[in-house]
C-alpha cells in the first residue's frame, strides 16, 4: 500500500502539490492521471523520498521511504528512462543495484530474462533505444521482487508490442497481490490497464474512483470525456479561488 497524507509541496510561492491524500491498494492497477504539470511526477518523487514534502507525508507499506533499510525489496520504481549512466553495461547497472540492497546476484539474470534483455546484458546502455531503456528500468524495478511497484509513464517510447507487454506485466503483478501504481496521460492506455484511477490537477485530487465509476454505461462517457470534465472543473475551481 502507498499512502499520501495531506501531502504538500511548495516551490517558493508556487504550490505543486496541495494537501493531497490518497491510498493505493494492493491487488489492482491504480492509474495516476493528470495533465502536464499537475504534479504526478512530484507526488511520485515524494513517495520515493527524492523530494522532501513541505508538509504532510508519504508512506510505503506504512513507512517513510527514506527509513527503509532495503528499499528495493519494498518498492520497485520505473522513473524516466534517462535515470541511468550510459557508460555502464546493462548487467553492470543491475549488478550495482542488486549489491546496494543485498539482493542475490542471480536476480540480475532473472530480471534480464523477464524483460527480454538477456542478449544485450553486456552492451553499454548508451547505445540502447528508448524502448530498451524502458525495459531496463522495468528490470531494475523488478530486481528486489517488491510488493509495491511504481511506473512513471512506462509506455513512453515503446512500440505496440512493448505497450502490450507493459500492460500485461502491470496486470499480472497486480494479480499476484502487489500494489501497482502507473502514471500516464494516455487515456486509451489507462482505460485498458487500470482498475482504479486517481486523477489530479494543479496538485489536487480530483477523483479517486474505480474505472467503472468513471467510464461505461453508468457514467455515460469514455475515460477521455471523464478526464477532460474533471480537469476542466479543476481549472475553473482554481480561478475562482484566486479571484476571491
Amino acid at each position: 500500500m502507498i499512502e499520501a497524507q495531506q501531502l504538500t509541496k511548495r516551490y517558493g510561492s508556487t504550490v505543486a502539490i496541495d494537501r493531497l491524500s490518497f491510498q493505493v491498494r494492493p491487488g489492482r492497477v491504480t492509474g495516476l492521471l493528470g495533465p502536464n504539470g499537475a504534479g504526478k511526477s512530484t507526488a511520485i518523487r515524494m513517495v520515493l523520498g527524492l523530494d522532501t514534502p513541505t508538509s504532510g507525508r508519504a508512506l510505503v507499506g506504512g513507512s517513510p521511504y527514506r527509513g527503509l533499510p532495503h528499499p528495493l525489496r519494498e518498492v520497485g520504481a520505473l522513473l524516466d528512462a534517462g535515470a541511468v549512466h550510459g557508460g555502464l553495461r546493462a548487467g553492470q547497472h543491475l549488478a550495482w543495484l542488486a549489491a546496494s540492497n543485498k539482493l542475490p546476484r542471480a536476480r540480475v539474470a532473472e530480471v534480464l530474462g523477464r524483460t527480454g534483455l538477456d542478449a544485450v546484458a553486456g552492451r553499454r546502455i548508451r547505445g540502447f533505444s528508448l524502448g530498451m531503456r524502458q525495459r531496463l528500468g522495468i528490470a531494475a524495478a523488478l530486481l528486489g521482487d517488491p510488493p509495491i511497484l511504481i511506473f512513471d509513464e512506462p509506455v513512453n517510447g515503446l512500440d505496440p508490442e512493448g505497450i502490450a507487454w507493459i500492460r500485461g506485466l502491470a496486470r499480472a503483478l497486480a494479480a499476484e497481490g502487489r500494489t501497482v501504481l502507473v502514471s500516464s496521460h494516455l487515456m486509451s492506455e489507462m482505460a485498458l490497464t487500470a482498475d482504479h484511477l486517481l486523477v489530479i490537477g494543479k496538485g489536487r485530487l480530483l477523483a479517486d474512483a474505480g474505472l467503472d465509476e468513471l467510464v461505461g454505461p453508468a457514467a455515460g462517457a469514455t475515460l477521455e470525456d471523464a478526464y477532460l470534465r474533471l480537469t476542466r472543473e479543476a481549472v475553473e475551481y482554481r480561478s475562482a479561488g484566486v479571484d476571491r
Binding site: T52, A83, W96, K102
Partner: protein
C-alpha cells in the same frame, strides 16, 4: 554500509572514465618526471650552482605530479557529477535513500582507489626517476632520511585531491563546474596567493599545491618562508578534505 560500498565499487570499476583518468595521470605524470630527471642527469655537469642547490632528487621525480593531480581530481569529481549529469542520481537515491551514507560510500571507494593508485604512481615515478639520476650518481635510496615519507606523502596527496574533487562534484552537481573548481584549487590559487605576498605569507601556506611541494621533497625547507612547514602541509590536506567533503555533504542532503 558494506552493501553501499560494494555498489559504488561496481560502478567505479565498470566505468571507462576511471581507467582513462588514471592512465592520463600515469602517462603525463610519470612521463614528465622521467623527462625532468633524465634532463638533470644529462646536464648536471654544466648546471649553475643555483640550479644545483634547487635540485631535489625526490621532488624532481615528481615534476609530473602537477598534471597527475588534475587527473585524480577529475576522477573524484566524476564519481558524483556524472550521476547528476546522466540523471542516474535518481536511481541511486531510490536504491540508497540515506544521502549521507551514499556520499560517505562514494568518498571511501574513490578515496581508497585513488590512494592505492596514487601510492603506485608515487613509488613508480620515484623509482623511475632514481634510475635516470643514477647515471649522474644523483640518486637517493628509499631508506635515505625523509625519502620514504616524501614518496608515500605524494601518493597520499593524490588520494586527498581525488576526495576534494568528490566534494566539489557533490557541491556543484556538474562535471565542468567541478573540474573548473579543481583547476582553480590546484593551479590558480597559487598565483593568487603570490599576489598577496606583500601583505602575508599565510595564503601561500594554505595553498594545496604548495603543501604538495613540501610533502613531495626532502630538501630543507627553512629557506623558503612562503611554504608551509611539514606539519602545516599535512594540516592543509585535512583542511581541504574537511571543507570539500563538508560542503558536499551539505549539498547532497538537499533535494535535487
Amino acid at each position: 554500509m558494506t552493501a553501499v560500498l560494494h555498489a559504488e565499487w561496481i560502478k567505479l570499476r565498470s566505468l571507462r572514465s576511471t581507467y582513462l583518468t588514471l592512465a592520463v595521470a600515469v602517462v603525463l605524470g610519470a612521463g614528465l618526471g622521467f623527462l625532468d630527471t633524465s634532463s638533470v642527469a644529462h646536464h648536471w655537469a654544466t648546471m649553475s650552482a643555483a640550479d644545483r642547490a634547487a635540485f631535489d632528487p625526490v621532488g624532481d621525480s615528481f615534476t609530473g605530479l602537477v598534471f597527475a593531480q588534475l587527473a585524480f581530481g577529475v576522477l573524484g569529481v566524476l564519481t558524483i557529477s556524472s550521476e547528476y549529469g546522466t540523471g542516474m542520481i535518481r536511481t541511486t537515491l531510490t536504491a540508497v535513500p540515506r544521502r549521507g551514507r551514499l556520499l560517505a560510500a562514494k568518498a571511501l571507494v574513490v578515496g581508497a582507489v585513488a590512494l592505492v593508485a596514487g601510492e603506485l604512481f608515487a613509488f613508480g615515478t620515484f623509482l623511475l626517476g632514481q634510475v635516470m639520476l643514477a647515471s649522474a650518481h644523483l640518486d637517493v635510496a628509499l631508506t635515505s632520511p625523509g625519502v620514504l615519507r616524501a614518496v608515500s606523502s605524494a601518493g597520499l596527496y593524490l588520494g586527498v585531491v581525488a576526495l576534494v574533487g568528490c566534494g566539489a562534484g557533490a557541491l556543484l552537481r556538474h562535471t565542468a563546474g567541478g573540474v573548473a573548481v579543481m583547476f582553480g584549487v590546484i593551479f590558480l590559487a597559487w598565483p593568487a596567493a603570490r599576489a598577496l605576498e606583500s601583505w602575508s605569507y599565510l595564503p601561500d601556506k594554505l595553498i594545496l599545491s604548495n603543501a604538495a611541494d613540501v610533502l613531495g621533497q626532502v630538501h630543507a625547507l627553512a629557506v623558503k618562508p612562503r611554504l608551509p612547514s611539514l606539519g602545516l602541509a599535512y594540516f592543509d590536506l585535512l583542511l581541504y578534505l574537511a571543507v570539500a567533503l563538508g560542503l558536499g555533504a551539505w549539498r547532497v542532503s538537499r533535494d535535487s
